[in-house]
């Protein structure tokens, strides 16, 4: 299969590889896929408490080149966005940007799922956090 130049670029120079502290309250972690399916993506966001803007995004992916590229691209797009803006990222945006062939569309779906899972984890932490802060105050 021939890969697009953008997929090759992300595969050869993946952006934002790594892990954030999953215990931190301003970090949301999304882990999607399963080893037996051949794809596992871990995507993390770190949100600035004051501005509500995603200031850091990291990923690690087990999967084909298109899966690695989809998650690498997702981290690039996430940085600098608010959580609501991040939720608007659609898998079709990733498909278009990376010129993924039909057989690789599931990689982009997985990346969108990972974004949603990370945001959901972040929001769950926030709703737990607010009351506790109030009691302290």
């Amino acid at each position: 299969m021939a890969y697009s130049d953008k997929v090759l670029d992300h595969y050869n120079n993946p952006r934002n590889v790594g892990s954030l502290d999953k215990g931190a309250e301003n970090v949301g972690t999304g882990m999607v896929g399963a080893p037996e399916c051949g794809d596992v993506m871990k995507l993390q966001i770190q949100v600035n408490d004051e501005s509500g803007i995603i200031e850091q995004a990291k990923f690690k992916t087990f999967g084909c080149g298109s899966a690695i590229a989809s998650s690498s691209l997702a981290t690039e797009w996430l940085k600098g966005k608010t959580v609501d803006e991040a939720l608007a990222i659609k898998n079709t945006d990733i498909v278009n940007e990376l010129s993924l062939p039909p057989v690789k569309i599931h990689c982009s779906v997985l990346a969108e799922d990972a974004i949603k899972a990370a945001i959901s984890d972040y929001r769950t932490k926030q709703t737990k956090r607010v009351p506790s802060e109030q009691t302290v105050a």
Binding site: S19, P35, C64
Partner: protein, 404 residues
Amino acid sequence: MKTPIYLDNHATTQMDPRVLDAMLPYFTEYFGNAASRNHEFGWVAEQAVDKARKQIADLIGASAREIIFTSGATESDNLAIKGIAEMYAEKGNHIITAATEHKAVLDTCKKLEKHGYRVTYLPVKGDGLIDLDMLRESITDKTILVTIMYGNNEIGVIQPIAEIGKLCREKGVIFHTDGVQAIGKVPVDVNKDNIDIMSITAHKLYGPKGVGALYVRRKSPRVQLTAQMDGGGHERGMRSGTLNVPGIVGLGEACAIAQREMPEESKRLQYLRDKLRNKLESELDEVYLNGSWEHRLPHSLNLSFAYVEGESLLMGINDVAVSSGSACTSATLEPSYVLKALGLGDDIAHSSIRFGIGRFNTEEEIDYVADKLVSVVRKLRELSPLYEMAKEGIDLSKVQWATD
């Protein structure tokens, strides 16, 4: 050293220039039809075919009259299995094969099931070998054929062919083997191995594509086949169709070269294969061998690199031609059924790479491939959430994965 490096010699091999030299005159100068009995052109072609028949027979310990020419091993497998099923239908309707056979055998068996035949697909053990006791117990008075491959195309394991053949002989069942990966790589002898019928192809032993043969035993027992194509009654009535004379000459020459050079060549291939494995295993952790090490073709290696997905691995070594058992590299999006038959988890199947070393590979190439793989596996493991979790001591088999 030139790239890309070809290490996919189970798929096909580069034709040996000596084979091409032998073939060339038969395209233009000696173009006759081997079935033309009444002129010089036909006689020359027939002589060339007879010589090739002898070269092939010599390599496998057969007699020339037991070699039937076909278009390749898929046709040979089809002709053997369907031809025997039809010929011996009155005796029984049961066929035994194994789960790790090539699709040319499995799909032929599935087709026969639709026509009232019963097929037993033997499972294999963790090392890829069949269990002889299970085979013995599976044979009934309705069994007419056992078809088990000699050497496996994905994992390279060699089945206990002589023992299978002996068992079939005792039970009066015909024994077919697909010999394409083994012939020319290890000594194959139809008498010592108790083989009744065997599929052969040229392009896996440095010959041309599109030509193969079927060995059909003529005595003790005499094996009969119902032809699957109707026509001029060529090849003792078993396979009609004008003979592909240049291709047959090439197959014959490829067999003659293999017979002369196999002892030295298989030692060299085995040395390179062992070196590749040793280098990879000494520099990387969690590299797993797929299939028996002891019962293995000398040029075959199939390894799984845990926590790394096969297609992304292939992408990182894009100047090396190998195959992966990963679903992503197949048309079906299913991981290799052969690796699954060994009892491997899908994750390990997704992480597998098949190396097939051949006549034209050099030690320099093997060193290059080993070094490259080590660096790519390390890089991809840095990227792998699974490797990170495993290093944290998490048992991946106990994780609840978020799947659809």
